[in-house]
């Protein structure tokens, strides 16, 4: 057959048309995409039997119930537990990312002993027996020298069995230096003590309040028990209840409130007293009941003489008319509630502010009332047998605490913030320190000073599950199970007005060679022998916990939570004019470090629910949610009002150096109309130096830039900011 021009063209065109009509090209694109995607390194998650396990999240003191979905023995998803009294199905970013902490690369997989220099990252893997005897030998040596009081411990809070085991251990060993990480709870507890004469946890009946006056509390930024507050906030919206947010920066809480009132930072106490002034002047309070209360005359005198509306307006920068209307709305609401504790409440703040705000609550008569502030006695479920101290322990326990709590500052229980100064100035020393569920080297303000103090402690033992800043600077790590691998009791979440005990339970088997910190402590005590061992009669932590919870155990195993139906409200005589109020006679804002000449701006921290700033580092999912106006690449962004930025020639996205009297850091500029001119705001929770590549070296740690201001009454850290300067690079 001869192929001519015509037949050739017919063949080609016909062939092309035929192919196009046939499914071949489409089949080929489909196949090629399948073939080119069938890579062996793309994981195929194995299927299996589905199950659900309920537990309690302990990543923050919020105490939410969680439901973990499992496929065979793998945990694949954490969800909020339906029907739990705190969160009823809701959950936060951190809680959702828990599995990245469980399976993630930052876990400490086995006991480690430092072999290189401190912080160098050179470790030797040791067995648990070796680890326990390392600690025991050192402790026995210190004890033999009659210096047991030079051993200290730092835990996250002083509630629950694990912190109490630490306290018990130190007492039996002979040291009063049991320290906890500071928070607004310290200030609230002290306020309860000073104004109501009671030892109580503070509870806020937020759900029943109808006018919420928040002095900078980040209601939806992670304050209190975060998910519970989110839910309360939504309920307020539906019911048309009012929220007033007082703070210099338009936070998420301020943006969602009904009224945002910017205030000169550090003057919140003056505003509270100014509001009290209007309430008293206009007789908007229950005279019959309040006038006769203890200290009210003195309080009235203080408020009427020192806090006239005009004066307060000058101090706070808030218009007189606004103060008057605030006071009227507050006093005339049926269930008004005033709260404080800035941001997430991770710093204690000025005691003045707490007593002034609490006086406002008392003035409108909402103490221990529906929609008000409750003084609750913690459910007293930890009743362990008494134990005897030997003479060494007795001598040790008679020594004063290194941080001055209980002596120099009689009202304070623990003043970790004072530890660096005491140690660095040579006024005191510690031979050894235990750190559990806390990361002071990262999350304490003035981290350089605390690092220096730690450097001079010869023996640091970390019980961290993760290679955090404190663990990587330790001499020995005895890794704890993470919360999804262990039993633990969860005391009443922060700020709840009813007592609930939660029970976290193992969702999966321990993934690595770790041990419950309670068990480690029991083993150490037993190895020390004598009266220390006698104080720990339990075979294991789980046995101790089961015994402690007693008759509640079965119910807790079934429901994961136990509501204390007779939550006890403790009442004492209210004192309107405690000692802490006296310093308010002549108002001066809580002073911050730095001169106005070399540091023309003021740096304030801000908290975001998308960034954890406590002892848990942010897992990759959480970091992924951080906006590019907060963190860009490896640089943190600072917020500044465009007006102030113009003054210093700064523009959006520009790199700059942020200087404070404590340090400096490279930052990027983000212009924000929601911040008071003259201020610079930096997010807490960035700038980790430990953990994994998803978190390390991202942005700068606010705590390295900020110092501490000792509150004259509480001794706690009252700093709310620091003076700062921005220079172009």
């Amino acid at each position: 057959m001869k192929i001519g021009r015509r037949s050739f063209l017919s063949f080609v065109i016909g062939g092309a048309a035929g192919t196009a009509i046939s499914p071949l090209p489409w089949k080929l694109t489909d196949d090629s995409s399948i073939w080119s995607q069938n890579w062996p390194w793309t994981p195929v998650p194995p299927d299996g039997e589905y199950s659900q396990v309920n537990s309690i999240c302990t990543l923050c003191p919020g105490g939410c119930g969680i439901t973990v979905r499992k496929v065979d023995n793998r945990a694949v998803k954490i969800e909020g537990m339906k029907g739990h009294p705190v969160n009823d199905g809701g959950i936060c970013v951190m809680g959702l990312s828990g599995l990245q902490l469980l399976y993630g690369p930052t876990r400490v997989k086995t006991p480690l002993k430092r072999v290189g220099k401190r912080g160098e990252g050179k470790w030797e893997k040791i067995s648990w027996n070796e680890a326990i005897s390392e600690v025991t030998e050192k402790l026995a040596e210190i004890r033999a020298q009659g210096e047991p009081h030079t051993v200290g411990s730092i835990v996250n809070s002083d509630r629950g069995t694990v912190p109490n085991l630490f306290r018990r251990f130190l007492t039996a060993y002979g040291s009063p230096n049991y320290m906890t990480m500071p928070s607004m709870q310290d200030s609230y507890n002290m306020t309860m003590q000073l104004m109501q004469g009671v030892t109580a946890q503070v509870g806020f009946d937020a759900e029943n309040a109808d006018y919420i006056l928040s002095f900078g509390s980040g209601i939806i930024d992670g304050w209190g028990s975060p998910v519970r507050m989110f839910k309360a906030n939504s309920a307020w919206k539906v019911d048309g209840k009012k929220v007033v947010q007082i703070e210099p920066r338009l936070s998420n809480t301020a943006a969602k409130s009904d009224e945002w009132i910017p205030i000169k930072p550090g003057t919140e106490a003056a505003l509270a007293l100014g509001i009290a002034n209007v309430v008293i002047m206009e007789s908007l309070y229950d005279k019959e009941n309040i006038d006769s209360q203890f200290g009210f005359d003195a309080f009235k005198e203080l408020v009427l003489n020192g806090y006239s509306v005009e004066k307060v307006s000058n101090i706070t920068g808030i218009k007189s008319a606004t103060i008057v209307s605030l006071a009227k709305n507050f006093a005339q609401a049926s269930n008004p509630l005033a709260i404080c504790g800035k941001g997430q409440g991770s710093t204690p703040g000025s005691l003045n502010e707490f007593v002034a705000v609490h006086a406002l609550n008392a003035l409108v008569g909402n103490i221990n009332k529906n929609g008000g502030v409750w003084a609750l006695s913690d459910t007293d479920y930890i009743k362990w047998p008494e134990f005897d101290l030997d003479s060494i322990a007795e001598n040790g326990m008679q020594k004063e605490r290194i941080d001055g709590a209980g002596s120099e500052y009689p009202h304070a229980k623990s003043l970790l913030n004072r530890l660096p100064e005491v140690i660095n100035s040579g006024d005191g020393f510690l031979e050894a320190i235990f750190v559990a569920d806390a990361n002071p080297l990262y999350s304490m303000p003035d981290s350089k000073a605390i690092k220096e103090a730690f450097d001079s402690i010869p023996f640091i033992v970390s019980f961290s599950s993760y290679m955090d800043e404190t663990a990587s600077n330790a001499d020995l790590i005895l890794p704890n199970h993470v919360y999804l691998e262990r039993y633990e009791d969860v005391p009443t979440p922060v700020g709840l007005q009813k007592n609930i005990i939660g029970l976290a339970k193992p969702v999966v088997k321990p993934q690595f060679n770790t041990k419950n910190v309670g068990d480690s402590l029991i083993l150490i005590a037993k190895a020390l022998g004598g009266s220390v061992a006698n104080a720990f009669p339990w075979d294991s932590y789980d046995a101790c916990l089961e015994e402690t919870l007693g008759s509640k155990w079965d119910l807790l195993e079934e429901n994961r939570f136990w509501s204390d139906s007779n939550s006890k409200v403790v009442t004492g005589e209210f004192n309107f004019y405690p000692d802490a109020m006296k310093s308010l006679t002549n108002f001066s804002p809580v002073s911050i470090e730095g001169s106005t000449i070399s540091f023309p701006l003021v740096l304030i921290p801000y908290d975001s629910i998308r960034l954890a700033n406590g002892y848990i580092g942010n897992p990759p999912f959480v970091i992924k949610t951080v906006e590019d106006t907060v963190l860009k690449g490896k640089t943190a962004c600072v917020e500044i009002n465009p007006k102030s930025a113009k003054e210093f020639g700064l523009t959006e996205g520009r790199s700059a150096i942020l200087h404070t009297p404590r340090g400096k850091a490279k930052v990027k500029i983000h212009l924000y109309e929601g911040i008071m001119p003259g201020l610079v705001a930096l997010a807490r929770g960035l700038g980790h130096t430990a953990y994994d590549k998803y978190l390390t070296d991202k942005g700068c740690n606010l705590n390295e830039l900020i110092g501490m201001t000792e509150d004259p009454v509480s001794g706690l850290d009252a700093a709310w900011g620091i003076r700062a300067r921005l220079t172009k690079v």
Partner: protein, 273 residues
């Protein structure tokens, strides 16, 4: 079989997000990532290539201090109905890797069919689609938490929000097993809806007047599902994409931010056709 199919009413799954209640906490984003095996990389601060099926945007009202205001806006895939199912992305896909289901109203994404031309990304007016520029890498040990109901994607394909379609499939399987052909409202909920601590997200069938989404949005289903509630709006309403994600806001500046309006333009006109 035919009889059964006839009586089954088509669903139109959609979402209503209350921006007054949304706190911008980001739980929806992470709930989605955890449910759908979304990968993560060392640096996720370039938001153009940071894969987030659900992304929370921050809106500002453009005013100066102290009148400034912000609002958060979570953005999943809008599952546009377009004109009779002609969603912008579906219309341009040469590989039929994305399709509009008239049975559920969900716009699917079939990873194994996608060959990465990214036409759909160009066509999507909501930036709801993301391209896998890199192979996903899960650090050692973390593949253990991967959800077997959603296949991990690989380099070279586009992915997006599926309204947690696998949850629909699981719920339907369960329903069929129990001899039912219809789902209860709470049987099929997306991961983000379930997680939202503020309760700002509602999910359900926009064709079903019993469902909360219907009652909140009051969709005019004869006219592309235009919202009947004056506080409810959809993003870029005037493009005619007819999204199935509705937003509630009591603030006018937020509602206006949902589309490109001229300063003197009457916002409400869109909704008075």
């Amino acid at each position: 079989m035919k009889e059964e199919g006839k009586h089954k009413k088509a669903k139109k799954y959609g979402m209503v997000i209350n921006l007054d209640e949304c706190t911008g906490c980001g739980a929806c984003m992470v709930a989605c990532m955890a449910e759908n095996n979304v990968p993560f990389r060392e640096d996720e601060s370039n938001k153009l290539d940071s894969i987030a099926w659900m992304r929370v945007y921050k809106l500002t009202n453009g005013k100066s201090y102290p009148d400034a205001d912000i609002c958060y806006l979570p953005r999943p895939c809008m599952h546009c109905e377009g004109d009779h199912g002609h969603s912008p992305c579906v219309s341009v896909c040469p590989a039929t890797a994305t399709d509009y289901s008239h049975e559920t109203g969900i716009v699917s994404q079939i990873y194994t069919r996608c060959f990465g031309c990214r036409y759909c990304m160009g066509a999507c007016p909501y930036h709801a689609r993301y391209f896998n520029w890199w192979d996903p890498v899960w650090p050692e040990g973390t593949t253990k938490y991967l959800n077997p109901n959603v296949s991990p994607r690989m380099r070279g394909v586009v992915e997006k929000c599926s309204f947690c379609f696998h949850r629909y499939q699981l719920a339907m399987d369960k329903a069929y097993f129990e001899g039912r052909a219809e789902l209860e409202e709470d049987e099929y909920q997306t991961s983000c809806t379930q997680a939202c601590p503020a309760g700002a997200i509602t999910f359900g069938d926009l064709n079903n007047p019993e469902h909360k989404v219907y009652q909140l949005a009051k969709p005019d289903n004869k006219h592309g599902g235009r919202p009947g509630n004056p506080n409810v709006f959809r993003l870029l309403e005037r493009l005619g994409t007819n999204p199935k994600v509705y937003y509630i806001s009591s603030r006018e500046w937020v509602r206006r931010a949902g589309d490109n309006y001229l300063d003197n333009e009457d916002f409400a006109k869109n909704y008075r056709r």
